[in-house]
């Protein structure tokens, strides 16, 4: 027999549980948001992160400081250059070295270019989410221009790996400067175009004004940084408060909002675009001549042209073990990739010249200086090599040998870092990106921790969305400008 349900139970009001993401087109990556809805109003919102977790922090512990640089590209791939700069500034502080002024200015220029490209992508996707398709296309037109500029200086468009610890990879060319000047002349008028389209648009205003309001005090308590915080009226900018690179030598304003809603945060970012143009222009005018790599022989790659005498096969060199100096430790024997070295323990080793690759590995591993590089010794009989090895080495050749040893050491192990810890924060387009290193005195960090703005902003999502409608979740995810690559790391 079927029992009749009580009438109240049939019409009971329940909260609706809705999954948004991780493959929702408007979640800017793989963010999963679980919504509890009362009708269309949000009662509870829980962001789930970690779908793009690659363990970058752990990977960093297993790579040398030089090697871990490309990992930072893959964190916030929208503004890879800023991430690289943040990493380099932090490691430089740990090493105790400083980049030369020209490198600092170049890094400031590319950092600001990356800020522009990030804000353009943010504006494009934010406007697209809310419903303005044209802005999306216009923003990508200019972003393409910046990516082409990046390609011009480093050969890559997105994952640039251009800054290096102690400077930048290569100097900028005159062609790049000319193109950049053209871009700077054109870009402010393009910002006006975006503003014509959406600044006063009634749909845009309806979707952004009064949405996701957060007061200044609350924004600080939630740990917000960058434009997301400045929209609430706090002029906190690391470029002003703790200047790195060349930011202490340029003049710029920190735009702030008043209401702390989505529209104010949008206005902040639009004004920041103009400030970035201003900064780049000043940097170009003040760009000094000089080196682009720091003169810190232990911590940066040695110049390659210094060892060309040895690495250039024209010189026809041969490697030879001095029997008197060789202690028979077996270091070279184990290191030789071609297994050309033979010998017993505690007896002088020998190189089989027919097997030798002439790669210099044995030369750089020998601690007793028993290995000799003999110019013009290739293909000579052994008696001749003994004779040649007794000759004093030219000064130039000696320097090349030193550079080669330094190069091999740098690549195989990386520079040793004194014990200690360091936290350096930089202002990336999304907020405060902090790198925290703990060094135990070896070649690799004992702990690498990244304070990524996106992760902290993703946590604020519930606070921003509560009480709003479902459609406003999209606007709120857009306004905090998160990239899940950086959030999940």
């Amino acid at each position: 027999m079927i029992k009749m349900q009580e009438p109240e139970k049939i019409f009971e009001t329940r909260e609706l549980n809705v999954n948004m993401g991780p493959q929702h087109p408007a979640t800017h990556g793989v963010l999963r948001v679980v919504l509890d809805l009362d009708g269309e109003t949000i009662v509870r919102l829980t962001p789930y992160v970690g779908y793009l977790h690659r363990g970058i922090e752990k990977l960093g512990e297993n790579l040398s400081y030089f090697q871990a640089l490309p990992l930072t590209d893959r964190m916030d791939y929208v503004s890879a250059m800023s991430n690289n700069i943040g990493y380099c500034v932090a490691v430089e502080k740990l090493y105790g070295i400083e980049a030369p002024p020209r490198a600092k200015f170049i890094r400031t220029i590319v950092g600001e270019l990356s800020r522009i490209s990030n804000h353009l992508l943010w504006l494009a996707t934010h406007a697209l989410d809310i419903g303005a398709m044209t802005v999306f296309l216009y923003c990508f037109r200019e972003r393409e221009w910046i990516l082409e500029l990046f390609e011009m200086i480093c050969g890559a468009r997105l994952t640039v790996t251009y800054p290096r610890v102690g400077g930048v990879r290569n100097d900028i060319s005159q062609e790049f400067i000319d193109h950049l000047v053209k871009f700077l002349a054109e870009f402010p008028s393009r910002i006006l175009e975006y503003e014509t389209l959406i600044d006063q648009n009634r749909i845009w205003l309806k979707r952004t004004v009064g949405i996701g309001v957060i007061s200044a005090e609350e924004a600080i308590n939630w740990g917000m940084t960058g434009p997301t915080l400045r929209g609430s009226g706090i002029p906190y900018d690391i470029r002003k408060f703790m200047p790195y690179d060349a930011y202490d030598q340029v003049e710029f304003e920190v735009p702030i909002g008043t209401a702390g809603d989505t529209y104010d945060r949008y206005r902040c970012r639009m004004l920041e675009l103009r400030q970035s143009v201003k900064i780049i222009r000043q940097c170009l005018e003040k760009l000094p001549a000089g080196p682009v790599m720091a003169d810190a022989p232990k911590f940066v790659l040695p110049p390659k042209d210094k060892m060309l005498i040895i690495t250039h096969p024209v010189n026809e060199i041969a490697y030879f073990i001095d029997e008197k100096a060789c202690k028979g430790c077996g270091m070279c024997l184990r290191a030789c990739p071609a297994k050309a070295i033979t010998g017993e323990k505690k007896k002088p080793h020998k190189i089989d010249q027919s097997l030798c690759l002439q790669c210099a590995t044995c030369f750089v591993t020998c601690k007793f200086k028993a290995l000799k590089i003999i110019p013009g010794g290739k293909g000579q009989p052994e008696e001749k090599l003994v004779e040649l090895s007794a000759q004093p080495v030219a000064d130039e050749f000696k320097k090349a040998q030193e550079a080669l040893v330094a190069h091999f050491d740098f690549i195989k192990k990386g520079p040793k870092v004194p014990e200690g810890e360091v936290y350096v924060a930089t202002e990336v387009p999304k907020g405060e990106l902090g790198f925290y290193f703990v060094s135990d005195g070896t070649h690799k960090p004992y702990r690498m921790r990244v304070r990524s703005p996106s992760f902290i902003h993703a946590g604020c999502l519930e606070r921003l969305c509560k009480g709003h409608l479902v459609a406003d979740v999209i606007a709120n995810i857009g306004t905090i400008d998160i990239v899940l690559g950086e959030c999940d790391r």
Partner: protein, 174 residues
């Protein structure tokens, strides 16, 4: 609601302004490229598919293994036999194109070419062997192109630690 605001609301002035802009843009030159038919010119020093460089018809690589050591994604493997590099393999699917192998090589034996169109149907075609890499050099770095590549992008050089003559400046002045 003020009178001005009222007029703005009923005339759709801001929407008309935006539409005027898009209408104007309709008559300007298109910025898009019809990809397979036309290709954009890539910049020198583009970090694409690898090549092993040659000098006098012979590979410069001696097989010291520094590139394999520095590679963050460990995609290079080298085997040597009897004073020869018998196997030099790059797994393209693992490579992240950071260009560290170029920087690590003291012999200037490896380079990144401008080739970015190398999709394949199976994994084996994306394993670059020594022969494929050497033929890439002839294909994508003909003439003096390879030399110029090393001049510009094989870094750091001594001039990076000093002030080279003719350094790029704003306005072309020193």
């Amino acid at each position: 609601m003020t009178f001005k605001h009222f007029i703005k609301t009923i005339t759709f002035i801001e929407i008309l302004k935006g539409m005027a802009l898009t209408l104007r843009r309709m008559f300007s030159r298109a910025v898009t490229i019809q990809y397979p038919d036309e290709r954009r010119k890539i910049a020198p020093g583009f970090r694409g598919q690898h090549a092993l460089s040659k000098r006098g018809g012979k590979a410069k690589c001696v097989g010291c293994g520094l590139c394999a050591t520095i590679c963050p994604s460990q995609c290079i493997s080298i085997t040597r036999e009897k004073g020869q590099v018998t196997k030099y393999q790059i797994e393209l699917l693992r490579c992240i194109y950071c260009g560290f192998c170029v920087e690590a090589c003291p012999y200037g034996a490896i380079s990144l070419t401008g080739n970015y169109e190398y999709s394949a149907y199976n994994k084996q075609d994306l394993m670059m062997t020594k022969e494929k890499l050497l033929s890439n050099w002839d294909k994508y770095m003909p003439g003096t192109k390879g030399e110029e590549y090393y001049k510009k992008f094989w870094r750091p050089m001594s001039e990076d630690f000093g002030t080279p003559p003719g350094q790029a400046m704003y306005g072309g002045k020193r």
